[in-house]
Amino acid sequence: MSNASTNTSKKTDEVAIQLNGVHKWYGQFHVLKDINLNVQRGERIVICGPSGSGKSTLIRCINRLEEHQQGDIIVDNIELTGNLKNIDAIRREVGMCFQHFNLFPHLSVLENCTLAPIWVRKMPKKEAEEIAMHYLERVKIPDQASKFPGQLSGGQQQRVAIARSLCMNPRIMLFDEPTSALDPEMIAEVLDTMIELAETGMTMLCVTHEMGFARKVADRVIFMDGGEIIEQNEPEEFFNNPQSERTQKFLSQILAH
């Protein structure tokens, strides 16, 4: 995780995700207000903001775990509508990691990783297991393959969750506060895994409060508040020279400690 390699952007001109005027309401509550966002292939984006600002909702809209009510979301040239075929196609290309890992407790680590390749990609079991072992090695826990999620530490579980997503060979990865439920010493191991992933050129959207990670990895940092994108910039500019008052206040709170 040297600075030199991570700072080189793998960003291309190709558009991976496009959001045009996206709105979402929970009943009366307006969670997302006119979100416009273009993500290039290979771009690493960190989304931050106070809780309740809509950042998790935003990335959950991208793989349709939440439904948006207005505007267009286009992922990998596929438009996200009520069309189940499109939703299936997008979910095959988009991996996601959750705050609480959401590993399947009744399946072993290896089975967690092979489940989707076997059922969705219709892959032979042996091939799926080889791929799973490859990614478990990449997240540095191949020796835990036969254990069950309940037998692992939080950091190990989150790394399994990352490996599980990677087994589907996604082109885009979404991270929804992947380190918020972890003890400090486990945060480092998960962030290291994410940094290594960023170096491979994966398109990444991370909702996180890990500002060190943002500085090191992100091509762009987005600040959200009240369901709106308030400010977005390259990390250097964003942290050293925040434009809006709300960003300044948020950064002073989060970086004070």
Binding site: N63, G95, F98, F104, M168
Partner: protein
């Protein structure tokens, strides 16, 4: 405090045996066992004494004596008044097993169905199920049995029977009369075909699993097997030239002769037991499905698994471990509740053997002992099976 007691408190020498912790615990255990033993000896002696004084017969010889009374329902074996009390026992046992078995099957299907409907996002559907569950499980089962019995007895008399499909099916207050199937030559091929189909579908399921592991191809196992299990017997039936005749019931005098009669006592008990237990099972199923966190569904869907696969591969395996233990209790309850048959005269083991036979022979100890043993055996068998199944679906943690 005097110097003497202070010395005692320090426990030097003068402490009695009774303040020794081990001695004291042994003493009380011995006391309890002794009292229990004395009580048992008293009961046994008292019973033996009274039996002798009143000249009551003991032993199991009565099982070989002629029963001398009729039993209205005996679908599995021939029974007339000249048969023995031992035969009564068997008839009653099979009637208990019949209504319990069919009750468990019906209650399970209905309960699972209702439990899933209760979670429906459709407000009306979920409310209707809610009302059904709250009504059914909060009214005493005995009342429900009597209600269903009253409903079936309120059907028209024999002369005014409700007939369906050109007099093939007849419904009146004495029961539901169906044509009696008379298998002809070659009909044996049909059950053989069914067995073959079941065996073949087990092999197909295994083969499909292996093939999926080897090549990744997914076969529609459920659909194929269903088609096979229904199709093969039908095919055998057709190939052998439909070798099945029916004996239709005919009105002769005051009643229908011929055909198969399903008595209202059986139907009422079966309905009430199934509907009552289904309400409890539906709550169990609902709780089981809800116990699996929504994050599991999200993770599965984010990986691209379809809702039906998510249900089958992720939700159900986790819900089952919550559902099975209370489900076992419901099966045991249903079996034991079937003894309420006595209220409407369905000849289960309690009504026939534990009721009429007991009254006629007066050998209460033996009869009650045997009857209790029957329920104990059935219940333990159900428990053993469910525990075995529960172990198969339980979760490894730590």
């Amino acid at each position: 405090m005097s110097a003497e007691t202070a010395q005692n408190a320090r426990g030097s020498g003068g402490a009695s045996l009774f303040s020794d912790q081990r001695f004291r615990s042994l003493f009380f255990q011995a006391l309890v066992i002794g009292l229990l033993g004395a009580f048992l000896v008293f009961i046994v002696y008292n019973t033996a004494h009274n039996i002798e004084k009143r000249g009551i017969q003991t032993g199991f010889a009565f099982l070989d004596a002629a029963a001398g009374y009729d039993i209205a329902i005996s679908p599995f074996m021939e029974y007339t008044a000249t048969h023995t009390h031992g035969r009564v026992f068997l008839v009653g046992l099979f009637n208990t097993l019949l209504v319990s078995f069919l009750g468990i099957i019906a209650a399970t299907f209905l309960g699972v169905f209702l439990g899933v409907l209760r979670l429906s996002p459709n407000w009306l559907v979920s409310r209707i199920v809610y009302c059904y569950v709250e009504f059914t499980r909060n009214v005493p089962l005995l009342l429900q049995i009597l209600l269903w019995y009253a409903i079936f007895l309120a059907l028209p008399s024999v002369k005014q029977s409700i007939t369906m499909f050109n007099d093939i099916i007849i419904l009146n207050k004495r029961g539901l009369v169906l044509p009696e199937p008379l298998p002809g030559d070659g009909f044996m091929l049909v059950p053989i075909a069914l067995v073959v189909a079941i065996v073949a579908s087990i092999f197909f399921a295994r083969w499909a699993k292996k093939t999926q592991a080897a090549t990744g191809k997914i076969y529609p196992v459920f659909m194929t097997n269903t088609a096979m299990i229904i199709g093969l017997p039908l095919l055998a039936f057709a190939v052998t030239g439909f070798p099945l005749d029916f004996a239709y019931a005919e009105l002769k005098g005051f009643n229908f002769k011929g055909g198969v009669v399903i008595k209202p006592e059986f139907t009422a008990l079966w309905f009430a037991l199934s509907l009552y237990t289904a309400a409890f099972i539906s709550e169990t199923v609902r709780a089981g499905i809800q116990s699996v966190s929504h994050g599991q569904t999200e993770a599965s869907e984010a990986l691209g698994l379809r809702p039906s696969w998510t249900m089958r591969l992720i939700i159900l395996p986790q819900a089952l471990r919550v559902i099975i233990p209370p489900m076992t209790s419901q099966y045991l309850n249903l079996t034991k509740n079937s003894s309420l048959a006595v209220a409407i005269g369905y000849p289960d083991i309690v009504q026939s053997f534990g009721g009429v036979t007991l009254n006629q022979t007066g050998q209460a100890i033996e009869v009650i002992f045997i009857t209790m043993l029957v329920y104990l055996t059935i219940s333990l068998l159900i428990s053993a099976f469910m525990n075995w199944y529960n172990n198969r679906v339980s979760l490894v943690e730590r």
